[in-house]
């Protein structure tokens, strides 16, 4: 097993930015493999992936390609079986498909907990939480209980909580998959805006090709069982894109063909 360089301790918040500038990457995976159990078939196999600071990368793949496993590894929730993961900017934030907000805390306090855990002094927390809520356009939600918010609003609070973390990498695991189409469109616009505003690197996992093309600067297609990088596209369509736009559709059709090709391979054995 090769050495595993993982995230630095969470406290390394302030000097992180310089490290990123010097290294030139926000996330770097080198030969990362992962299998579960002893001698289990690998879920991920030899992934090499570099995400530049401030870059928006979409990871695309059918079920079983290990996209969520990959995010868990980068987030530090799990350890790779082989290979190295380097996240110089400190513990990355991770957003899930479910909002994962804590129901015993009001919306604003959820964000303040994240601020507290990163070591922000008490007297600064409330103002910062309100600033983050304003960033996701939920100025009035500070005192709201989680269950009083709609699905889209919960995901925005979850985004604000993720942005409250000190790291400069935001990992998103199909965060909009459970939302209705109208809300999802709006959140795509919001995420694009917030990404441009905050300059975080985003690694966005999805199985929705159009969503990937709508959002990403780069789309990385993973093959399934084991997950390997099959292909990638750099997307030059200027933001803000519309998910229905002809150039987005054209590229989506092309990528979908490749995705289907990957899936078909599995039917042949």
């Amino acid at each position: 097993m090769s050495q595993t360089v993982h995230e630095k301790p969470a406290a390394a918040a302030a000097p992180a930015r310089d490290a990123v500038q010097a290294d030139g990457h926000a996330v770097r995976l080198t030969g990362v493999s992962k299998s579960f159990g002893r001698g289990g078939a690998p879920v991920l196999d030899g992934i090499d992936l570099t995400v530049a600071p401030g870059e928006f990368v979409c990871l695309l793949g059918a079920s079983g390609c290990g996209k969520s496993t990959l995010l868990n590894l980068v987030a530090g929730l799990d350890k790779p079986s082989a290979g190295a993961i380097d996240v110089p900017g400190g513990r990355p934030a991770l957003m899930f498909q479910e909002h994962a907000l804590f129901p015993w805390l009001k919306a604003g306090k959820n964000i303040e907990l994240a601020l507290k855990l990163r070591g922000m002094p008490r007297e600064e927390r409330k103002a910062e939480a309100q600033r983050l809520l304003a960033l996701v356009r939920l100025d009035t939600a500070y005192d709201k209980r989680v269950h009083e918010l709609s699905g889209g609003m919960r995901q925005r609070v979850a985004l604000a909580r993720a942005l409250a973390q000190a790291g400069d990498v935001l990992l998103m695991d199909e965060p909009f998959a459970a939302l209705d189409a109208i809300t999802r469109d709006v959140l795509h616009d919001e995420l694009t805006r917030i990404w441009a505003d905050t300059g975080r690197a985003v690694v966005f996992v999805t199985h929705n090709v159009r969503e990937a093309v709508r959002l990403g600067q780069r789309v990385v297609l993973l093959s399934s069982r084991p997950g390997r990088i099959a292909r990638e596209w750099t997307i030059g369509i200027p933001q803000p894109r519309r998910i229905e736009a002809p150039d987005v559709s054209a590229l989506s059709i092309e990528i979908t063909e490749h995705l289907r090709g990957e899936i078909r391979r599995h039917g042949k054995h």
Binding site: A10, A13, R17, A52, P53, G54, E55, F56, A75, G76, L77, R91, A93, F96, E98, A100, F102, P103, W104, L105, L113, A114, L117, R118, L132, L135, R137, R145, V146, H147, E148, L149, S150, G152, M153, R161, A164, Q165, A166, D168, T183, V186, D189, E190, T192, R193, A196, D197, T198, G199, R200, Q217, R218, T234, I235, G236, I237, P238, Q239, P240
Partner: protein, 311 residues
């Protein structure tokens, strides 16, 4: 810190990539979003307090009235001789005699003080015990089954050995109360912890809540509903065990609580006194449940949106 000074994405999509985002769409998006938020969020309606009270108090009052009616009929029909089945009015008189003597509250106080103290000790022991059993696998394997087994052991069984170990004194009584209440409080926090969605733990770890900080900020609050259910049961067990202990371990040094009051009624062959004692024991149990635990439980559930509003 979510600052805005980081260089724009290196993989340039052309000059439009970042700046054009803030051109004209944001206002449209903001308006659309505000509309969606308004359409999709809902305001919880609170029913007026008098209606809640009526719905809560009405049916039980009616049920009690019916029960007393049946009792009166049974008495009038002479189902049992009068010394064994007094009428509701005779019991009421016996209660009023006690009331005028002014010692009802003294009796209640002796028992309530013991129950409360024993219950608090049980909380202080049962909570950390349950937490350790819930989190440490080998301890759980070792004493988990024992704890759930102890829950089904009637605590009266502890009274004779406790009297021999500690003598006829308050220590024996507290020992019985603790043996009755600690297992169910511990079991409460164990099942509370077991029911915590793994997603919360993962989300907490992503935020940096690991180790003791994870326990304090995530695990304990997330386990609170299950824990409260165990605490409530723990109170019921404390009260029950205390009554068993007071009834059996009667001695002048022990003070005069509800159990001793019941025992004295028995010694005197005073059935109205005994029934009064039983009612008082019942009323204290129900009263604490209604005044303390049910509001606490409701508060926690309502905060988390786990309480379906009853219409």
């Amino acid at each position: 810190m979510a600052s805005t000074d980081l260089t724009k994405p290196v993989d340039a999509d052309g000059p439009s990539s970042a700046s054009s985002v803030s051109s004209e769409t944001p206002e449209d998006v903001a308006g659309l979003e505000a509309g969606l938020d308004a359409l999709e969020s809902y305001q919880e309606e609170r029913t007026p307090i008098w209606r809640t009270l009526l719905a809560k108090v009405g049916p039980p009052t009616l049920a009690i009235a019916v029960l007393i009616g049946i009792w009166q009929i049974a008495y009038s029909a002479h189902l049992k001789p009068e010394y064994a089945l007094p009428s509701p009015a005779q019991v009421w008189d016996a209660f009023m005699v006690q009331w005028h003597k002014g010692d009802v509250f003294d009796i209640l106080w002796v028992s309530l003080k013991r129950a409360a103290l024993g219950f608090l000790m049980a909380l202080a022991i049962g909570t950390p015990l349950g937490l350790v059993v819930a989190r440490v696998r080998w301890i759980r394997a070792a004493i988990g089954p024992l704890l759930s087994g102890l829950q089904s052991l009637p605590s009266v069984a502890w009274v004779p050995p406790a009297v021999i170990w500690f003598g006829l004194n308050n220590s024996a009584i507290y020992a019985v109360v603790l043996l009755g209440a600690v297992p169910s409080i511990a079991q409460g926090i164990i099942s509370g912890v077991d029911q915590v969605p793994p997603l919360f733990i993962r989300a907490g770890r992503v935020l940096g809540a690991t180790g003791l900080r994870g326990v304090w900020h995530i695990l304990l609050p997330a386990a609170l509903p299950g824990y409260l259910a165990g605490v409530k049961q723990g109170w019921a067990f404390s009260w029950r065990s205390l009554m068993a202990a007071e009834l059996i371990a009667a001695s002048p040094d022990l003070g005069y609580g509800l159990g001793q009051f019941l025992q004295q009624g028995r010694d005197l062959g005073e059935m109205p006194m005994m029934i009064t004692a039983v009612f008082l024991i019942l009323i204290v149990g129900i009263g604490i449940e209604l005044l303390v635990f049910s509001p606490l439980e409701k508060l926690v559930l309502r905060q988390r949106g786990l309480l379906a509003s009853t219409k």
